[in-house]
């Protein structure tokens, strides 16, 4: 079987505008959560908080003519993809162009554009819709824009599974490489849906925390939304070695499952199945895993269910795992979640630092494992998994391994 490695990564979220800044903030336990500034959120019952990207000036990244085509969703994806491609040193000349895939997980779509135009349509009774609305809003816009920016002509599309979109995209890319369809992929996730409409919709599901996000802790009240993108260059080990590329880590395996149960309530059975499959696919024993980047949303249901699933998959090894949720730092970035969390997972492998679970108050009896509360920890990690469990009962887990 073809081995797959990660040779580039890029990121943008509330913690910073590139992967090194994002990772540094994770090790320092910085939280990007604060009052929403993009629109008047004072009427929101959920406290009007989120992990917003701040001080982002699109004109520093894109020419004006190009910017007209780009919702923030695509802007973030393009910024992250450019960083990942530069770091990997890969070029898409000749046959490489068609032997590379672009897969971007997106949970929602270009919401800022959509809401802005709908506001004009329904509230201001405008009779014309902006002609670039469709190309900015469409869910596949980030994938298309990345393929255009880098001249990549291989299989390119969006992958949608709500909060698991990134991990499903990474799994899909790995399968394409293993099948011999392509030799490399630019893959990750993006989301930019901090709008009044979406915030209201989440609020009405009663899953938003009014105070902050405190995964696995007693007193947790829900999730806090975030936004951004993380993108990776993955390729065959052979291709990376031939190019003399720096290998960040091995993408060892992936696991996917569906709960086939409730549309919203999580299932320990479905989550366990995805984790077990990722371990099997990676050829890793449960004891080989040192770190789990948990889905850890901060809702009562997710965190206790995920804990039960971890017990069932890891058995006696479960208490020895360092488990953390980085969502109190970058927020729940939905379709970008798994990709941003992979930045933290790769950081843990490479630097031997486990990012903490912030805002932890005290143990909840239903969450009885080691969640690395509040402060980062030094620990040598040889292999790790990153969990994403989505509404709709869709689960995807990525397993990574240190190289040599």
């Amino acid at each position: 079987m073809r081995r797959i490695v990660i040779t580039g990564m890029g990121a943008i979220c509330a913690l910073g505008h590139d992967a090194p800044s994002v990772w540094k903030a994770m090790t320092e336990g910085v939280s990007g959560i604060g009052p929403l500034t993009r629109f008047d959120a004072s009427a929101l019952r959920s406290g009007g908080i989120a992990a917003e990207i701040k001080q982002f000036d699109p004109s520093r990244h894109f020419a004006e003519a190009r910017l007209a085509f780009l919702d923030p969703l695509s802007q973030y994806a393009l910024v992250a993809a450019r960083e990942a491609v530069e770091q990997s040193g890969i070029s898409f000349d000749g046959e490489r162009a068609s032997r590379t895939a672009v897969l971007v997980g997106v949970g929602v779509a270009g919401e800022e554009t959509r809401e802005g135009l709908y506001k004009r349509l329904y509230e201001e009774r405008a009779t014309r819709f902006h002609p670039l609305g469709i190309v900015r809003i469409m869910t596949n816009a980030p994938a298309s824009q990345i393929s255009m920016a880098h001249g990549i002509t291989g299989p390119t599309f969006a992958v949608a599974s709500a909060c698991a979109s990134s991990n499903h995209a990474i799994a899909q890319a790995a399968l394409m490489i293993r099948a011999g369809l392509v030799d490399a992929a630019v893959v990750g996730g993006a989301e930019a849906s901090l709008t009044l409409g979406l915030m209201r919709a989440w609020e009405s599901m009663r899953v938003l925390a009014p105070d902050t996000c405190r995964p696995f802790s007693a007193g947790r009240k829900g999730l806090v939304l975030g936004e951004g993108s993380a993108m990776f260059v993955i390729e065959t080990l052979e291709s990376a070695q031939a190019r003399g590329a720096t290998i960040l880590c091995e993408l060892a395996g992936t696991g996917m499952s569906a709960d086939a149960g409730d549309i919203a309530a999580p299932s320990a059975v479905g989550a366990s199945a995805a984790m077990s499959m990722a371990l099997r696919d990676a050829g890793l024993a449960p004891e080989a895993i040192g770190y789990v980047n948990a889905h850890g949303t901060g809702t009562v249901a997710n965190d206790s269910t995920e804990t039960r699933a971890l017990h069932s998959v890891f058995g006696a090894h479960a208490p020895a795992l360092a488990i953390s949720s980085t969502k109190p730092m970058h927020g729940h970035a939905l379709g970008a979640g798994g990709a941003l969390e992979l930045i933290g997972t790769i950081g843990a492998l490479r630097d031997g630092i486990v990012p903490p679970t912030l805002n932890y108050l005290e143990p909840d009896p239903a969450c009885d494992l080691d969640y690395v509360p509040n402060v980062a920890r030094e620990k040598k990690i040889d292999a790790a998994i990153s969990n994403s469990f989505a509404f709709g009962g869709l689960n995807a887990v990525v397993a990574v391994k240190r190289m040599g």
Partner: protein, 83 residues
């Protein structure tokens, strides 16, 4: 039975498709077989009907009883009239 309680029970019965007389003040929504998003929908219907906002603290779907829910609604209604 107060009007608020009567109207609340009607909403629950309609949403959960259960007989009105199976609902007792001491039942929890869980006892009545109303879980997950169905419970959240019941709360939404109640909010729409009475034009009030019920804070998350007042909607304990697992342990909270229907009687407590009626009390929470009455509190919100009282607050609305005093405003």
């Amino acid at each position: 039975m107060s009007n608020v309680q009567q109207e609340t029970f009607d909403i629950i019965a309609k949403q959960a498709k259960i007989e009105l007389d199976t609902i007792k003040p001491e039942s929890t929504l869980k006892d009545l077989g109303i879980a997950s998003l169905d419970a959240i929908e019941v709360i939404f219907d109640i909010e729409e009907h009475f034009n009030i906002n019920l804070p998350n603290e007042d909607t304990d779907f697992d342990g909270g009883t229907v009687g407590q829910l009626v009390e929470a609604i009455e509190r919100q209604l009282a607050q609305k009239t005093s405003e």
